[in-house]
């Protein structure tokens, strides 16, 4: 990438503060920043690191709009049996002692040091330059090592033949899959489906953006409120942080 382009990009990104997380341009289409759609032909860049900030104080108990949106976007069957693929789970937690309850969506944490990638024998699990952790299903042999290695139980094995190919993500029996951060949308400059669904449900529990840009809405918020990463002791540096844990 040329310096000129880099400069342009930074200029675009710095406008992110004005064009924050949820700009609706048409029903069902939300941009977090028009300029962030990567031009076609350009690879993902490590100048960007995509992440989320999940505010458990805004996440409503019992609401599963994000889960439904994810299932619809990626044509997941939507079951919750141990053998059903689930890319997001809604968790309802209660603190021992105080009895305080919180509710949160749980998905792949898009670790900077992902153990799923480390154990994968085929190179199918990989981290894209912009921090999105994916399974290259062309290479996945379904050994499920990554499922064992992931401390967040974020991955699912596709047990059944896939008949519904209408979703945005190609899926197939015998491979492992997990949240893609809606990479197909992100590459077009559109926020992930769960983020959009949460906002249109009237909640603002999920903020999506570029963690590498100090001026992005997510970076500003992470600077101003207390947030935490799940199992920070494991030093996996997840891209997902939580407020109000």
């Amino acid at each position: 990438m040329s310096c000129g382009h880099d400069h342009q990009r930074r200029q675009f990104l710095s406008r992110g503060a004005a064009l924050t997380a949820a700009v609706t341009i048409a029903p069902g289409l939300m941009l977090y920043d028009f300029a962030r759609a990567r031009p076609s032909g350009e690879p993902a860049s490590s100048a960007v690191r995509w992440g989320m900030l999940i505010d458990t104080t805004q996440c409503e108990s019992g609401c599963d709009a994000c889960v439904r949106a994810c299932n619809k976007e990626n044509s997941l069957p939507g079951g919750t049996l141990p053998t059903d693929p689930q890319w997001i789970r809604k968790l309802e937690l209660q603190q021992e002692g105080t009895g305080r309850r919180i509710s949160l969506p749980m998905m792949c944490q898009h670790c900077a040091e992902p153990p799923c990638v480390e154990v994968c024998p085929t190179g199918a699990s990989f981290k894209r330059a912009d921090g999105i952790v994916l399974v290259d299903k062309h290479r996945c042999i379904g050994c499920r090592y990554c499922m064992m290695a992931c401390p967040y139980k974020a991955r699912s094995f596709v047990h059944e033949p896939v008949t519904d190919h209408s979703g945005a993500t190609p899926r197939g029996q015998g491979t492992v899959e997990s949240c893609t951060l809606c990479v197909h949308r992100v590459d077009q400059g559109v926020a992930p489906a769960c983020v959009e669904a949460c906002a249109s449900e009237g909640h603002q529990a999920i903020l999506f953006g570029n963690l590498n840009d100090p001026d992005s809405a997510i970076s500003q918020r992470i600077r101003s409120v207390a947030s935490a990463k799940l199992r920070a002791d494991l030093n996996l540096d997840p891209g997902i942080s939580f407020v109000g844990l």
């Binding site: 190919h165 190609p170 197909h184």
Partner: protein
């Protein structure tokens, strides 16, 4: 005379058999859907689409490069039959027809959609 008749019968039989056989041996009859100008020379595509798609899939999945000249979804967009909106289904459908003819198993559509992108809820997904 018997001999001459037998000879004629044999010729007639050969002609009847050879007609349909000749068509079947030459080329599969394909429904090319919308068709139009292919992204590259059709004969080049016939010979090389598998290599081009394999190269493109790695670039797109692993590096995030979108909008390339060659893409499976692009093939499907142009070549889905107008009858069943798919590149699969019968031995006339674009992908299935040729792969059956060439006896090459096609795995793509175990995961990928065999219908054009715009037919998905009316949205262009890309």
């Amino acid at each position: 005379m018997t001999l001459r008749w037998a000879g004629l019968w044999r010729m007639a039989l050969l002609l009847v058999l050879a007609g349909p056989l000749a068509a079947a041996v030459n080329e599969p009859v394909l429904d090319i859907g919308q068709g139009g100008h292919c992204v590259d020379d059709p004969q080049f595509m016939r010979l090389n689409h598998m290599k081009l798609l394999r190269h493109q899939r790695d670039e797109t999945v692993r590096q995030g490069i979108r909008g390339g000249k060659y893409s499976l979804a692009g093939c499907v967009d142009c070549h889905a039959s107008k009858k069943n909106h798919s590149v699969l289904g019968t031995d006339q459908n674009f992908c299935q027809g040729c792969h059956v003819y060439a006896a090459v198993r096609i795995d793509c559509f175990e995961c990928h959609s065999s219908t054009p992108r715009r037919s998905i809820a009316g949205e262009v997904l890309k």
